[in-house]
């Protein structure tokens, strides 16, 4: 039996998320991943922005920083640079990370800053009532796109790779065991690690689009494919499928390490001059 309590601020329960919301499912996965890595609560800092998903930081008993909308990656950069011993995990929504926060996201990826970014992609702005997100599929309904969105969505993973991220993965709130492993890998990875998590928002994505809560999870189950499995498939079989799993991993200098070696260099030089 898995013990979540150790990682929870029970005083905040029950949480504010709607019935069936994927945020709770993902939070559990995150906790299991941390537990497996046996990282102490004290050594973790979770930083979130504003949104339903970003409320997660209120529930976990680690060092938690609930920041402003779109800015958690910038705040997290400060945390990590100032105290590299902390495992810094960013909790962010698709609107938070990719709409208002898109710039911080790509720049942290460029720097290969040692952050674990968990991007809760529910395809919508949950907190504010179901407005269009930069991930809402074209044609889907949102409260600011009642006739169906004309906006094309971002592929967050592709963007992260192009920006320079060195660990890029995608999971879903349905595939909890896979998600455990992807998050675990992301935390272990030294450098900018993204796990994009497709998660179900019943209230503001499902309902306006006439998709039931359970169907949202079924959709995740039926429309995704593990990238490993996909390797052995034909284009026809892959048609319309979203790939999950570890999509990209590479090796580049991590930013804090680069800074620290600069510091060492500079100080050695100064020492020599003294």
């Amino acid at each position: 039996m898995f013990q979540y309590d150790k990682y929870l601020r029970l005083e905040m329960f029950p949480h504010i998320w709607c019935a069936g919301c994927g945020c709770g499912i993902v939070m559990k996965s995150l906790i299991r991943a941390i537990d497996r890595l046996a990282i102490k609560n004290d050594d973790i800092c979770m930083v979130s922005g504003i949104g339903c998903s970003s409320r997660l930081t209120g529930y976990v008993d680690v060092n938690t920083l609930h920041t402003t909308h779109g800015r958690p990656v910038a705040f997290a950069t400060g945390v990590k640079m100032a105290k590299p011993s902390l495992h810094v995990i960013v909790i962010t929504g698709d609107g938070d990370a990719l709409a208002i926060g898109g710039n911080h996201f790509i720049h942290a990826a460029r720097r290969n800053m040692d952050l674990t970014v968990l991007l809760f992609n529910n395809g919508i702005y949950g907190m504010t009532g179901g407005q269009l997100a930069p991930t809402t599929p074209t044609g889907k309904v949102a409260s600011t796109a009642r006739q169906g969105s004309i906006d094309p969505p971002f592929d967050a993973c592709k963007l992260a790779v192009a920006a320079g991220a060195t660990y890029v993965a995608r999971g879903t709130s349905y595939h909890t065991q896979q998600l455990d492993r992807l998050i675990e890998g992301a935390i272990k990875h030294k450098g900018f690690a993204l796990v994009e998590i497709l998660e179900n928002c019943n209230t503001y994505y499902g309902r306006p689009n006439k998709i039931g809560l359970l169907d949202l999870l079924q959709w995740e189950k039926n429309n995704t494919l593990n990238v490993k499995a996909a390797e052995r498939m034909t284009p026809e079989q892959l048609e319309g499928k979203i790939l999950t799993g570890l999509l990209h991993q590479s090796d580049r200098p991590e930013y804090v390490a680069s800074y620290e070696s600069l510091m060492a260099r500079v100080q050695a030089r100064a020492g020599a001059a003294d």
Binding site: L10, E11, P14, G20, G24, K28, T176, N202
Partner: protein, 92 residues
């Protein structure tokens, strides 16, 4: 916003609201205070162990079928299902 509570108060409420279903191989606990009635656990239990009540809570109806696969526990967004026992080891 709900009234601010202490950890102890919340634990007590949760304990009071938790139903335990016990078999030789497995114990399943459902915390009615936190369960929001989403029915995810019911839907995705591969063995139809669970069922929604008319009051939109969950009850265990076939504990002997439980394989301890943990789908229900892992998918419950509200930390309202707990399955005790070694995962994967079926009771039968």
């Amino acid at each position: 916003m709900a009234k601010a509570r202490t950890r102890e108060e919340v634990l007590e409420i949760a304990r009071d609201a938790t139903k335990s279903y016990v078999s030789a191989a497995v114990t399943i606990e459902i915390n009615d205070a936190w369960c929001k009635g989403c029915a995810i656990c019911v839907e995705f239990c591969p063995k139809d162990v669970l069922r929604m009540t008319p009051l939109d809570k969950v009850e265990v109806v076939a504990i002997e079928a439980c394989t301890k696969c943990l789908r229900c526990e892992q998918l419950c967004p509200d930390f309202a299902v707990v399955v005790h026992g070694e995962p994967g080891k079926s009771a039968s």
